[in-house]
């Protein structure tokens, strides 16, 4: 393993990528700090506005967004290299013979690639610590959940890049394929706001970013954890097949059923909805009494949403009311008939559009509101029960104006300190390659 770690961690490109990623992440962090400070300045005048000042949403999420971008675009450069460079140096076959199996070599390579990719996550962690040190509020648990989501993302990128290297001959080919694979997920997300990619909308279940969303809200989503773990295992299995010395026909014969089983596993794990709210003051959940009450309702709960995928009300409903409802009752069935209906329905839209139907047992309730309280109230009404007390300790909010010296120091760390640290470590570690 020390040989593989040396190839990954003593490569100039690894530290160069880490420095560029730190700059990218640092820029996102500084923008987030400035925006958060500006919002805090106006929020400090009112208690209600203060409650909206959420560092997870305002600081952690945008900073990790930079890390996610860096991992998707630059991660394959680091991760694919560990295996691809071995092929370019013509040492891969001899290495496998020495070690005893190509599978073990691929595993070591993927692990070394993942460890090197983890450098990308060092930058946001240092920035969060610095933010906390300068008086900002960062809840360790919800932040750890958000960072661990990116950790799973990192493992997937490392496995995908290793698979890309396994099926190609050169570093350049491997990086190109690795980046293409990670960008496919972005294309699916882009389908939301880009008409030309609208046909990809139905594939949103396969988007990595969609799977990372719960973590960014401080929720440990079992479905997302399993989906990302299964994807990584599938990519790793594809890497092992691709890097073996079998004929191409046999490799394909092995890979096709493997992909079939893997995709089935992804569909199954993707439907697991259980999640655990680790956000501060459990603010990602419904009030505790409502949660208890919802769990006591017998029989299935079905919700029909007659809203388009691109409708902002549907986004609001899904990210707030339905996400919280599913935390309380993972078995709630949510149906979106308009997604499956196709263009014919466009002309048929009329007064029915925008309805939300709640079925509990034999009873049906209807609303057009996307408010979580309204939705939960209707569920209880349909079940013939009284809505429990709607009380939840309010999230206090953590406004902070980072200005003056603190702002300058954070900017210096984000734009200079961190990237330069990576450059200097890289120069020190690769010194033995420059001096005879």
């Amino acid at each position: 393993m020390s040989r593989e770690l040396a190839i990954a961690l003593r490569a100039r490109v690894t530290w160069l990528v880490a420095a560029i990623a730190a700059l990218l992440i640092g820029h996102g962090f500084v923008l987030a700090i400035d925006l958060y400070s500006a919002s805090s300045r106006s929020a400090l005048a009112s208690v209600l506005q203060t409650r909206e000042m959420d560092p997870l949403a305002g600081i952690v999420r945008p900073t990790l967004g930079g890390a996610s971008l860096a991992l998707s675009l630059l991660g394959p450069v680091i991760a694919a290299r560990t295996l691809a460079i071995e092929k370019e140096r013509k040492s891969y076959g001899a290495l496998c013979l020495a070690v005893g199996s190509s599978t073990r070599v691929v595993l070591y390579k993927a692990l070394a690639g993942a460890i090197a990719c983890a450098l990308v996550l060092a930058a946001p962690i240092v920035l969060f610590v610095a933010f906390a040190a300068f008086g900002g509020h960062v809840d360790p648990f919800e932040t750890a959940v958000a960072v661990s989501g990116e950790g799973l993302h990192l493992l997937l990128i490392a496995a995908l890049a290793t698979a890309a290297a396994a099926w190609t001959r050169t570093f350049a080919q491997a990086v190109t394929l690795g980046i293409l694979a990670s960008l496919t997920s972005w294309a699916i997300d882009a389908a939301e706001g880009f008409a030309a990619l609208a046909w990809l909308g139905k594939a949103s279940e396969w988007s990595i970013e969609q799977r990372l969303l719960p973590f960014q809200r401080g929720i440990v989503s079992i479905g997302s954890v399993l989906w990302l773990a299964c994807s990584s295992a599938l990519a790793l299995a594809a890497a092992m097949t691709g890097a073996s010395f079998e004929s191409m026909a046999r490799k394909l014969r092995l890979t096709v059923p493997l992909l079939g089983i893997g995709l089935l596993a992804l569909v199954l794990t993707g439907n697991v909805r259980r999640g655990y709210d680790w956000s501060e003051q459990r603010r990602a959940s419904l009030p505790p009494a409502a949660v208890e009450g919802l769990r006591e309702i017998e029989g299935p709960i079905i919700i029909d949403v007659f809203l388009d995928r691109d409708d902002s009300r549907r986004h609001q409903l899904e990210s707030d009311a339905l996400a919280k409802l599913l935390l309380a009752r993972p078995d709630v069935a949510i149906r979106t008939p308009l997604d499956d209906a196709g263009d014919v329905v466009e002309a048929q839209r009329g007064s029915d559009y925008g309805r939300i139907l709640v079925h509990v047992g034999g009873s049906v309730q209807q609303t057009r509101s996307t408010s979580r309280r309204e939705l939960v109230t209707l569920i209880f009404e349909a079940a013939g029960k009284k809505l429990p007390e709607w009380a939840q300790s309010p999230y206090p909010g953590f406004p902070i104006v980072v200005g003056g010296m603190r702002r300058r120091l954070l900017g210096l760390l984000a734009y200079g300190g961190l990237p330069l640290t990576f450059v200097v470590i890289g120069l020190v570690l690769t010194r033995s390659r420059r001096t005879r």
Binding site: I7, A11, K90, G93, C96, F245, S247, T435
Partner: protein
């Protein structure tokens, strides 16, 4: 050398294709333990492809490779038996020589004469250096050491002598001969026929993927019609004869 080292390598009717082209055509030969078998031939004869196919790094169209009478069915079988030095391969430039040597030693059999190999390849002088700054000859020393130190019963070397100066070559020849003397079966593709003559016990002559002669150097000389000819002349004579027959 381990007990399993005394194993012969038998190659039977091995055929390798690259697309529609046959690059190794029904090649058969047996390499014996304790001997160095040189694979010689003009450029494009299929020497590297043959060694890669024997090592299991290239898929074969047909034929078998057996070690000690047991056919190698899987890559794992081959990994147990073969050490391989590819032609023009490079060391991991990021690692130190010490790391690379430690890696090779981790997979070495316990009873290999490591100290002797270290001395022949002058490894100690390189240990504290980065692999990326080594000269081509120094790199080849480390690569050859890493292959030989594994102590596998069959050692496949693709152009092992190409990067050395005459002084280094003497030690390298001695190391390869010593590994063979210890009971290993050494098969080496050698472009320089003078080197092949110095180090090999038997020679396999390949041309356009076909084995056109195989035997001891004396046998090949006799086949060429003159026992006094240097190997280079034997090589030319046998190729010319094949061209006439073709």
């Amino acid at each position: 050398m381990t007990e399993t080292a005394l194993l012969a390598l038998a190659v039977e009717r091995l055929e390798v294709r690259a697309g529609a082209r046959r690059i190794v055509k029904q090649v058969s030969f047996t390499a014996r333990p304790g001997e160095v078998t040189a694979v010689i031939g003009p450029n494009g004869a299929g020497k590297t492809s043959l060694l890669e196919a024997i090592a299991g790094l290239r898929t074969t169209e047909s034929g078998t490779v057996s070690v000690g009478g047991q056919a190698c069915a899987s890559f794992r079988d081959r990994a147990r038996s073969f050490a391989y030095l590819p032609d023009r391969s490079e060391l991991a430039a990021e690692a130190s020589v010490a790391t690379l040597v430690a890696h090779a030693l981790r997979y070495a059999t316990a009873d290999i004469e490591v100290a002797e190999l270290r001395r022949w390849f002058a490894i100690e002088a390189l240990l504290d250096r980065g692999a990326g700054v080594l000269s081509r000859g120094e790199q080849q020393r480390v690569l050859l050491f890493s292959a030989l130190v594994l102590g596998r019963p069959i050692v496949l070397l693709d152009e092992p002598f190409s990067a050395f100066d005459p002084l280094q070559l003497r030690d390298v020849h001695r190391a390869v001969r010593s590994i063979a003397a210890g009971g290993a079966t050494v098969v080496a593709s050698i472009h320089q026929l003078t080197e092949a003559e110095k180090v090999a016990d038997r020679v396999l002559l390949l041309a356009e993927g076909e084995a056109i002669a195989f035997g001891t150097i004396a046998e090949l000389k006799a086949e060429a019609g003159n026992g006094e000819l240097p190997l280079e002349e034997v090589f030319v004579a046998l190729l010319a004869r094949r061209a006439r027959v073709a």
